[in-house]
C-alpha cells in the first residue's frame, strides 16, 4: 500500500452513534469530519436494546458485545438493518468481556474492520471477521506482548494504525508500515507523545485517517486529527456538549481516510486486494 497521504472525507459526513444508557442507538451527522468544526445535520433513532458495549466498524458494520459476552455482527445500511439468518445480527463469538469500565476501551476496530484487543495478560491481538464469507480469517493474532501495565485503552484510527493511551493519559501512535518495504511490513511502536491529558477521556472512536472523536470529563465531544506539520494530534476542537452520560459514543470507522478511497472497505467487503490481512499476518508474532 502507498504511504498515508492527505486527509479526505469521501462522503463529507461522519455518522456519530451515541448509545443512551436506556439502550437506544441514535445516528447523528457530523458534517465536517475532516475539518472538525461544529457542523451537524439531522439525527434519528436507529435502534433499541443496545446494552453492553458497541463498536462501529467500517461502512455501516457494527459489533455489539452483549452483557453476556456474546459478540454480534450487524449492518446498518443507512435506512434499516440488513437481515441475517438469525434476524438482524449474526453471532460471531462468545466470551468477549469488554463491558466493564476497566476493559471497555481495550477493544477497537480500525478503518479496514480489523478488531484489536488489549488482553488482561498484556497481549495486543488482532482479529478479522470476513463479513462476506462470514468467518474469521484472523483469529487473535498476537502483535505485541507485555503491554498490560503500560496502556489502558486502544483506538484503531486508520489502516493498521493504533493509538494507545498510557496509564498517565498520554497517547502513543503505533502503526504497521507496509509502504517503506512492502514485501516486509514492520510494526512500528514509537513512544513519542502524540497528545496528553487523556486520563479522564472516554468513549474514544476514530473515523479513520488519524481522526479521533472523544468525550472529555465534562461531557464535551472533541475532534482530534493528525497534524502533518508537527506529526502529533492537533488540539481537540469542540464539536458538541452534553455527551457525558452516554453509554457509548462511536463513529463509523472509515469515513475519513489518508488512503485511496477506491480501496476502502465497502459494505460488500474489502477492496484493498487483501492488504489489511497481509499487513497483520506479516507482523504477527510467532
Amino acid at each position: 500500500m502507498p504511504a498515508p497521504g492527505n486527509l479526505v472525507a469521501p462522503y463529507g459526513v461522519t455518522p456519530v452513534y451515541p448509545v443512551h444508557t436506556n439502550g437506544q442507538l441514535w445516528q447523528y451527522e457530523h458534517n465536517d469530519p475532516a475539518g472538525g468544526s461544529f457542523t451537524w445535520g439531522s439525527s434519528k433513532q436507529i435502534g433499541n436494546g443496545w446494552q453492553g458495549r458497541v463498536l462501529a466498524g467500517p461502512s455501516g458494520y457494527f459489533y455489539s458485545i452483549t452483557t453476556g459476552g456474546e459478540l454480534r455482527l450487524l449492518h446498518f445500511n443507512g435506512s434499516s438493518w440488513d437481515p441475517y439468518a438469525s434476524g438482524v445480527y449474526q453471532v460471531i463469538g462468545q466470551g468477549w468481556n469488554y463491558i466493564a469500565a476497566t476493559t471497555k476501551y481495550k477493544i477497537t476496530v480500525d478503518e479496514d474492520g480489523v478488531i484489536y484487543t488489549l488482553e488482561t495478560d498484556g497481549r495486543l491481538r488482532a482479529w478479522y471477521f470476513d463479513v462476506m464469507a462470514k468467518n474469521w480469517t484472523i483469529l487473535g493474532a498476537t502483535l505485541a506482548t507485555g503491554l498490560g501495565s503500560t496502556y489502558n485503552a486502544i483506538i484503531g484510527a486508520g489502516r493498521g494504525v493504533l493509538y494507545l493511551r498510557t496509564t498517565a493519559g498520554v497517547l502513543h501512535r503505533w502503526y504497521i508500515d507496509d509502504w517503506t518495504t512492502p514485501a516486509t511490513p514492520t510494526f512500528q511502536k514509537p513512544t513519542t507523545s502524540m497528545s496528553t491529558g487523556w486520563t479522564n477521556f472516554k468513549n474514544f472512536s476514530s473515523s479513520g485517517g488519524d481522526v479521533i472523536y472523544v468525550v472529555n470529563a465534562s461531557g464535551t465531544l472533541l475532534h482530534y486529527k493528525w497534524n502533518t506539520s508537527t506529526s502529533k494530534l492537533t488540539a481537540g476542537t469542540t464539536i458538541g456538549s452534553g455527551w457525558g452520560s452516554e453509554q457509548d459514543v462511536i463513529v463509523s470507522s472509515n469515513t475519513t481516510t489518508r488512503s485511496n478511497p477506491a480501496t476502502a472497505f465497502s459494505s460488500l467487503g474489502p477492496n484493498d486486494g487483501g492488504a489489511a490481512l497481509a499487513r497483520i499476518n506479516a507482523v504477527k508474532l510467532p
Binding site: P15, G41, G60, F76, N77, S79, S252, S266, S267, N271
Partner: protein
C-alpha cells in the same frame, strides 16, 4: 445428439378490462396510454428445446420494453421446477419495443416516467400480475407440448438499419439466423433471428406496435411459409437506434429491410450445423454502483443531494420526481444498493448463445464475440432489464457522451444524472466507474467484470 423443439406464440396485446392498465412503457415525459389502437399485435413466444438429456430448455421471448428484476424472479420461480430447477435452462428475452404496455411499478418507475398517481400505479401492478400469469402459462404449456425432431443450422449476414446514438463508433449490423428444419423432410419448422437495434422506429405515440422486429418477423414468416414460428431476439442495442425519422412508416421500411436480409440468408446463406447436447450456465453477477450505498455515510450524503435537487427543481420535472422517490426510499426501506447482472450461456455444438441482462451497449457484443473462435450469438435485454450497462468509455464519460444518458450521470458520478437512465429506472447512483483489472485493488471495472464473467461461463467445463 438429436434435437427436437416445441414452439408456441401467445397474442397478449393488452385490452381492458383483462388488463386493468393500458399505460405504455418506453418513453418518459407526457402521460401515455393506449386507447385501443394496435398497429401490430404484441406477442410472447416460447421456444422449447429437448436435447434428449431428460430436461427440456425453454426460451421465452416477449414484445415488451422491459421486465424488472422482481418480475423476472417471479416468472423464473414458477418455471424453474419444470426445467430441472436449473437456472440456465430458462431464458427470457425482451424485444424492447417502446410501443407496448408498461410492466412493473419500480424500475422504470411510473411516477418518475409519467407522474402517475397511486391508483394508476396500482393498476399497472395488476396488469403486471395478469402479464406474469399469462407468460408462465405459455411456458408451462409449451413445455408440455410434443416436440418435433429438427436439425439446426446457423448463419449470419449483415444489414444496416440504424446508427450509434451514444457517440461511439460501433454500429451493429450482424443478423443472426438459427433455422430449425424438420428431420423428417427438411422443411422449415421455425426460425430464430437476432439483430441489435432499439425497437423505437415507430416513435412516441399511443399505438401498440411490435415495431420493426415484429414487422420483420411477420414478413419473414409469410415469405418462408412458417407463419408465426419466427422469433426475434434483441441484441446489445443499448446504443443502437434505428434510422430517423421515427414514425409509423419507418416500422415497415426498416422491418422489411431486415426481413429481406433474413430471407436472403435463409435462401442463400451458408449454414453450419448446430447440434446437441445443450449445456447451459447462469451467473447472477453483482455489479457495484459508483457509491457504496450500503454505507450510512453515503446514504446521508445522497439524501442531502436529492433533497437539494428537489428544492432546485419544479415538482413537474423528472428530476424532482426522481429525487422524491430517492428521498422516500431512503426514509423507508432503503435504495437499491446492488445492480444484478444475470448472464446466461447456452452452449450448443457449433454455437454459443450469450444472453446478457439489461440494455447492454454494443461493446459487449464486440468483446464477447472476440472471446472465442466458436460462433457466438450475443443477446441483450435478457432475463431482466433494470437499466443501461455501458462499457467503461461510456460509464466514465458522464455527460460528455450523449448527455450522460447511457452512462447514467452528468456532473457528479456519485449520484444519478438528471434525465439519464438512472433517473427513469430509479437508481440512486450510476455503475462503478473505476477499476482496471481483477488484480487491481478496488476490483475490476464494470466492463471487465462482465466480460470476465461471460468468459468464465463460456469456458466452464
Amino acid at each position: 445428439m438429436p434435437l427436437s423443439m416445441a414452439v408456441r406464440t401467445l397474442d397478449y396485446t393488452p385490452t381492458y378490462p383483462t388488463y386493468p392498465s393500458l399505460w405504455m412503457g418506453g418513453y418518459g415525459g407526457a402521460q401515455r396510454g393506449n386507447h385501443g389502437t394496435v398497429a401490430r399485435r404484441l406477442k410472447a413466444s416460447c421456444v422449447v428445446f429437448d436435447d434428449g438429456s431428460g430436461t427440456k430448455k425453454a426460451m421465452l421471448r416477449i414484445d415488451v420494453v422491459s421486465i424488472a428484476r422482481e418480475i423476472h424472479q417471479q416468472i423464473r420461480a414458477a418455471v424453474l421446477p419444470l426445467v430441472g430447477n436449473v437456472n440456465g435452462n430458462f431464458l427470457i428475452t425482451c424485444s424492447h419495443t417502446h410501443s407496448g404496455p408498461m410492466i412493473g411499478v419500480n424500475s422504470p418507475h411510473p411516477y418518475v416516467m409519467m407522474s402517475l398517481n397511486a391508483a394508476d400505479i396500482s393498476a399497472i401492478g395488476q396488469t403486471t400480475t395478469v402479464f406474469i400469469n399469462q407468460l408462465v402459462a405459455l411456458v408451462q404449456n409449451t413445455l408440455s407440448d410434443a416436440t418435433t425432431p429438427v436439425n439446426l443450422g446457423y448463419a449470419t449476414g449483415s444489414v444496416t438499419i440504424g446508427y450509434n446514438r451514444a457517440e461511439l463508433p460501433t454500429v451493429l449490423t450482424e443478423v443472426q439466423v438459427l433455422t430449425a428444419r424438420r428431420t423428417s423432410n427438411n422443411s422449415l419448422f421455425a426460425l430464430l433471428y437476432g439483430y441489435g437495434c432499439h425497437a423505437v422506429s415507430r416513435g412516441n405515440d399511443d399505438v401498440f406496435d411490435s415495431d420493426y422486429c415484429g414487422f420483420a418477423a411477420e414478413a419473414i414468416g409469410s415469405a418462408l411459409g412458417i407463419g408465426t414460428n419466427v422469433f426475434f431476439f434483441q441484441g446489445a442495442a443499448g446504443d443502437q437506434d434505428p434510422e430517423d425519422p421515427h414514425q409509423a412508416s419507418q416500422v415497415n421500411t426498416l422491418g422489411q429491410r431486415l426481413a429481406n436480409k433474413v430471407v436472403d440468408i435463409v435462401n442463400n446463406g451458408t449454414f453450419t450445423p448446430v447440434t446437441g447436447p445443450i449445456s447451459t450456465r447462469y451467473n447472477d453477477l453483482l455489479l457495484p454502483l459508483n457509491r457504496d450505498l450500503g454505507n450510512p455515510a453515503a446514504i446521508i450524503e445522497l439524501r442531502n443531494k436529492y433533497t437539494a435537487r428537489m428544492a432546485a427543481n419544479p415538482p413537474e420535472s423528472y428530476d424532482y420526481r426522481h429525487a422524491k422517490v430517492m428521498v422516500d426510499q431512503i426514509a423507508g426501506a432503503g435504495v437499491q444498493r446492488y445492480f444484478f447482472m444475470p448472464i446466461e450461456v447456452w452452449k450448443f455444438g457449433g454455437l454459443n448463445i450469450v444472453a446478457l441482462a439489461h440494455e447492454v451497449l454494443s461493446v459487449y457484443e464486440t468483446r464477447i464475440k472476440a472471446l472465442t473462435g466458436t460462433k457466438t450469438w450475443v443477446m441483450g435485454y435478457s432475463n431482466e432489464i433494470g437499466g443501461y450497462v455501458g462499457g467503461d468509455t461510456t460509464i466514465r464519460a458522464g455527460e460528455t457522451k450523449h448527455f450522460g444518458y447511457e452512462g447514467g450521470w452528468t456532473d457528479d458520478p456519485n449520484v444519478s444524472g438528471a434525465g439519464t437512465w438512472t433517473t427513469f429506472y430509479a437508481w440512486a447512483a450510476p455503475l462503478k466507474l473505476d477499476g482496471d483489472s481483477i488484480t487491481t485493488p478496488g476490483g475490476p471495472s464494470t466492463e471487465q467484470a462482465i466480460v470476465d464473467a461471460a468468459a468464465a461461463l463460456i469456458n466452464q467445463a
